[in-house]
């Protein structure tokens, strides 16, 4: 089982959620984060003084999926989150050793 963590542009959230759902993934967890990267922030003037916005708003999506689905999910996210412009974000794949569904106590793929 893998955790797919995607950092995406906030306004792509709905597209990505739909793309993933279509594959049959039933759950995901979203966090509002701030990203620092090649896409540079911008400088604003407030009352004549400078104001650097380094960290840009991003959305982090975490989707736990069973092994076989990983590639399809990664592809779905890649496609739906892409604008072709810098700052589109990253996808990280990390191992999960175990999953538990709190309500039922189920574990493994059934818990997803």
């Amino acid at each position: 089982m893998k955790m797919i963590t995607a950092i995406i542009k906030p306004f792509k959230l709905d597209d990505v959620r739909e793309a993933i759902s279509e594959i049959g993934v039933q759950g995901m967890t979203m966090t509002e984060v701030k990203g620092f990267g090649r896409q540079r922030g911008h400088t604003e003037l407030y009352r004549g003084a400078e104001y650097v916005v380094d960290f840009l708003p991003k959305v982090k999506l975490e989707v736990a999926v069973d092994g076989e689905l990983v590639d399809r999910v990664v592809e779905a996210i890649s496609k739906s989150a892409s604008t072709g412009k810098i700052g589109d974000g990253k996808i990280f794949i990390t191992p999960i050793e175990q999953v538990v569904r709190i309500r039922t106590g189920e574990t493994g793929a059934e818990a997803l």
Partner: protein
């Protein structure tokens, strides 16, 4: 019928005074919201506390001693007398006694034509205004109780003494210093006391970088700041409109009406030019500059909202709006940190307002206006500096670095202004 007409005029003027005073009291809410909108989240509850407390202290101190200093007989034209608490009011007989059948200002003679208690109420809200100006400039880093201690001295003594010079019949009055509703006496005074405090206090941590850069510290809630300015705008109709001191005859009524119209136009002029200036200088329509422009326009017209034509009033405000933008940027260059722009809007624009009297009021003289400003500056700056300095020695005026980092709200008030909202760290 004579007695009745005199009584009716007295009643109308008293009522006009009270309503004007209530509008000026409302300015306390304006300053509170403006300042709460322009500081950071973590200093918001404390600035609210300061504002409601300073208004309360001003009310009590002016009742206890300030009013009696400001309107004392005076030892001489520089040194006022002293007295305590508020005495009685006029009787119907007093009012009727000298009634000549002439309601106009010139026909009044020595006759009282409005309630003394209404006068006290109207004056008390003015001193609160002057004090409110200060809280914004020293926001986010000054200790609450030191500030309140300063408020006691400022509203009980410093303001009343300089007020005595002009409005209490002192030497500035004799000299012909013209300042209708107090561009200098109230607004410049507040700004000067604030400047003294800021100089001793220093800038907020992080405001000025090590190699001279000026960092923006955006205000946390601009809707509140905008509401504050609109409250002030409304309140100013009482501030300037009430300063005619009489409404009960045709000339006075016309004057009050002209003051309302001019006050409104001057504020409007300030908004428009400040907005255009910020578009030209910064490339964007900086709302906070427009807000300061409104106040600058209001302050600028306050020294004479009666003599200018409506067009000139809009221009005086418009110039105020330009001045305030440059003043804010300029003070930042001098590393004078004023989170809400109070020193610029009330001080720099106040100077402009006092001098702009010369444009339309034949009674004012260049020297009279200059001396007025100089006298106010010298006295208020020096006395304020001394008081701030003593407070610094006795109890300290600046929050500890950690308290400033955590925020005055938690450090001084033990609570947060918006505890449930997630905030950027």
């Amino acid at each position: 019928m004579e007695q009745q007409v005199a009584e009716l005029a007295y009643a109308l003027d008293t009522f006009y005074f009270l309503i004007s005073g209530a509008l000026v009291m409302w300015m306390a809410a304006g300053f509170t919201m403006l300042e709460a909108g322009l500081v950071r989240n973590k200093s918001t509850a404390e600035i609210l506390t300061k504002n409601i407390a300073l208004y309360s202290i001003a009310s009590v101190m002016f009742m206890v001693v300030g009013y009696n200093i400001m309107y004392s007989d005076g030892i001489n034209s520089f040194i006022p007398g002293i007295g305590f608490f508020i005495s009685g009011d006029n009787t119907p007989a007093d009012v009727a006694a000298g009634f000549t059948g002439d309601l106009s200002y010139d026909g009044l003679g020595d006759r009282p034509y409005y309630s003394d208690r209404a006068d006290f109420f109207f004056q008390v809200v003015f001193v609160a205004t002057a004090m409110s100006i200060i809280s914004g400039a020293v926001a986010e880093r000054m200790k609450l109780w030191a500030f309140l201690a300063f408020a006691v001295v400022m509203t009980g003594f410093i303001y009343p003494i300089q007020g005595f010079w002009s409005w209490g019949g002192g030497f500035l009055d004799e000299l012909g210093y013209v300042d209708y509703a107090g561009s200098g006496i109230v607004h410049f005074t507040g700004a000067v006391a604030a400047l003294a405090g800021v100089l001793l206090l220093g800038a907020r941590k992080g405001k000025y970088g090590p190699d001279g850069q000026i960092n923006a510290i955006p205000g946390a809630a601009l809707p509140l700041a905008t509401l504050g300015v609109l409250i002030l705008w409304l309140g100013w109709f009482g501030f300037n409109g009430g300063s005619e001191l009489k409404v009960s005859d045709v000339d006075s009524a016309n004057n009050v009406a002209a003051v309302f119209a001019n006050t409104n136009l001057s504020a409007a002029g300030g908004v428009i030019t400040a907005l255009i200036m910020s578009r030209l200088l910064f490339g964007k329509a900086d709302l906070t500059m427009a807000l300061n422009g409104a106040i600058a326009g209001l302050v600028a017209i306050t020294a004479d909202p009666l003599s200018p034509s409506p067009l000139l009033a809009a221009i005086i405000g418009g110039v105020g709006g330009v001045i305030v933008v440059f003043s804010i940027v300029g003070l930042d260059k001098l590393k004078i940190d004023d989170p809400v722009g109070a020193i610029s809007a009330h001080g720099t624009a106040g100077i402009w307002g006092v001098m702009a009297v010369l444009l339309s009021n034949g009674d004012a003289t260049f020297m009279g206006q200059i001396i007025g400003l100089a006298a106010i500056f010298a006295f208020v700056f020096v006395t304020s500096l001394i008081v701030w300095f003593i407070l610094k020695l006795v109890m300290g005026i600046r929050l500890s670095e950690e308290d400033e980092y955590v925020g005055a709200d938690v450090a001084e008030c033990g609570l947060e202004a918006y505890p449930e909202f997630v905030k950027k760290s």
